[in-house]
């Protein structure tokens, strides 16, 4: 018997990619990268961070998906491998959502997690 493994990369949904491209254009970085990172803090210990940059910082792992270039620093990647970045829109939407298979627990607001 084999079990399906989550791909060890970071992916982005069409919905999220559309919004990222929109934000990039608004900030004058139409050809920029979406920096996806983790930082210490938040209720559960780790917090997601999204940032738009002109280019990927040196040493980052670079992934291109749905026409968006994602850049992730090596340490954050350990906690983010397999994550799908989605976008939850509408009146009750949450905005960008991290579907992170490594997260064992998340805080109420969903921006902080622990592994």
């Amino acid at each position: 018997m084999t079990t399906a493994q989550a791909p060890l990369t970071i992916t982005i949904t069409e919905s999220a990619a559309k919004h990222v491209r929109s934000f990039m254009a608004a900030e004058g970085f139409a050809d920029g990268v979406l920096r996806v990172a983790v930082k210490g803090g938040g209720c559960s210990g780790l917090t997601y961070v999204l940032d738009i940059k002109a280019a990927a910082p040196e040493g980052d792992k670079v992934i291109v998906d749905k026409g968006v270039t994602l850049a992730v620093d090596r340490k954050s990647y350990v906690f983010l491998a397999g994550t799908e970045l989605d976008y939850s829109g509408g009146l009750n939407g949450k905005g960008f959502v991290f579907n992170n298979p490594n997260a064992k627990k998340a805080c109420g607001c969903g921006t902080s997690f622990s592994v």
Binding site: A37, V38, K39, G40, G41, G42, C43, S44, G45, L46, T47, D73, K75, S76, K105, C107, G108, S112, S114
Partner: protein, 320 residues
């Protein structure tokens, strides 16, 4: 449990001097305070040079990794940890550092900390050439003691001021002699422990640690309730809001000796357990205990398992 040396009286009536086995870290970097603010319970958005603040390092479940004393000086932060906890604190900070500009340098073993405490501590300090009045409460500064440059912290410990004198290990003897010459009485570890327990001050491994949250140890004074998110905040805020703290630190007056860990019984109910016990200079026995919230009422009398005939009377710890 141990007998209490007469020198402990100095901590009550004069000025006692004890070598303290704190872990010592020197933390620098432009992002150091921000990271500490995100990972610990107290508000650390700013910590001006010459000031100190206590804060609790908690995990995501709101359990205590350690109570830290941070002091800003010389463009960095001295951090005093509980004995034996410096390495664990360093590893925790390293785990949660993602590209931030922060360096945590171990100083345990290189730096020695002597605590001068008691009602005459300030006077002894001044006699040693370092006027205590020049140092604000919860402040720290350089001071020359016995011809040695020391970093001195001032804070409240029990009913009186205490001063932590931080020096290079090689200078410890000279500073100690200078303070003894100014009237301080050296207190050994057992003597300090008896004083700590009498003052109701909790310690890592006994009253707080990975086995509980900081509210059980009455560390609210090191927790900000309006700073926003930090690791463990959701759990701690929920415990406070819904009054779900299961146990509370209580001071205990014992009618005789009893072992640490002994269960306290209120009638047939298990009320809690002794966490620290020490004989006092007047021949009495003082203890600390973590007591179920339902029984954590001053004046309640309990029996002590394993100590036949000994009565335990609960009180609110003096420092709470």
């Amino acid at each position: 449990m141990s007998s209490v040396p007469a020198s402990t009286k100095a901590l009550r009536e004069g000025a006692g001097l004890a070598v303290r086995p704190f872990g010592v870290l020197w933390i620098t970097g432009a992002d150091a305070l921000d990271l500490l603010n995100r990972l610990t319970t107290n508000k650390l958005e700013s910590l001006p040079d010459g000031t100190s603040r206590a804060t609790v390092l908690t995990n995501g479940d709101g359990r205590v990794l350690d109570l830290l004393h941070l002091g800003a000086l010389d463009a960095g932060y001295w951090c005093l940890t509980s004995p034996g906890r410096a390495e664990a604190v360093t590893e925790w900070l390293d785990t949660y550092t993602f590209g931030e500009d922060i360096t945590v340098a171990p100083r345990t073993g290189q730096v020695s900390v002597l605590t001068l405490a008691g009602p005459r501590a300030g006077a002894v300090f001044a006699a040693a050439g370092a006027p205590a009045d020049a140092l604000a409460p919860d402040g720290l500064a350089h001071a020359a003691i016995g011809g040695v440059d020391a970093v001195v912290w001032r804070y409240g410990f029990g009913p009186a001021d205490a001063f932590d004198v931080q020096v290079n290990v090689a200078d410890q003897q000279a500073v100690r002699e200078a303070l003894e010459g100014a009237g301080a009485t050296t207190v050994d570890e057992a003597g300090w422990e008896a004083h700590r327990i009498a003052c109701g001050v909790p310690a890592h491994g006994a009253e707080y640690g990975a086995f509980n949250n900081p509210l059980e140890a009455r560390l609210e004074w090191a927790i900000s309730d309006d700073k926003g998110c930090y690791t463990g905040q959701e759990v701690i805020a929920r415990l406070q809001t819904y009054r779900k703290v299961q146990r509370l630190l209580m001071a205990v007056r014992l009618s005789g000796p009893a072992p640490v860990g002994a269960v306290l019984r209120a009638g047939d109910a298990e009320a809690g357990a002794l966490t620290s016990v020490a004989a006092q200079p007047d021949g009495s026995w003082a203890a600390l205990a973590l007591v179920r919230t339902a029984h954590a009422t001053p004046g309640i009398s309990c029996t002590v398992e394993g100590a036949p005939g000994v009565q335990a009377t609960l009180a609110i710890p003096a420092t709470s």
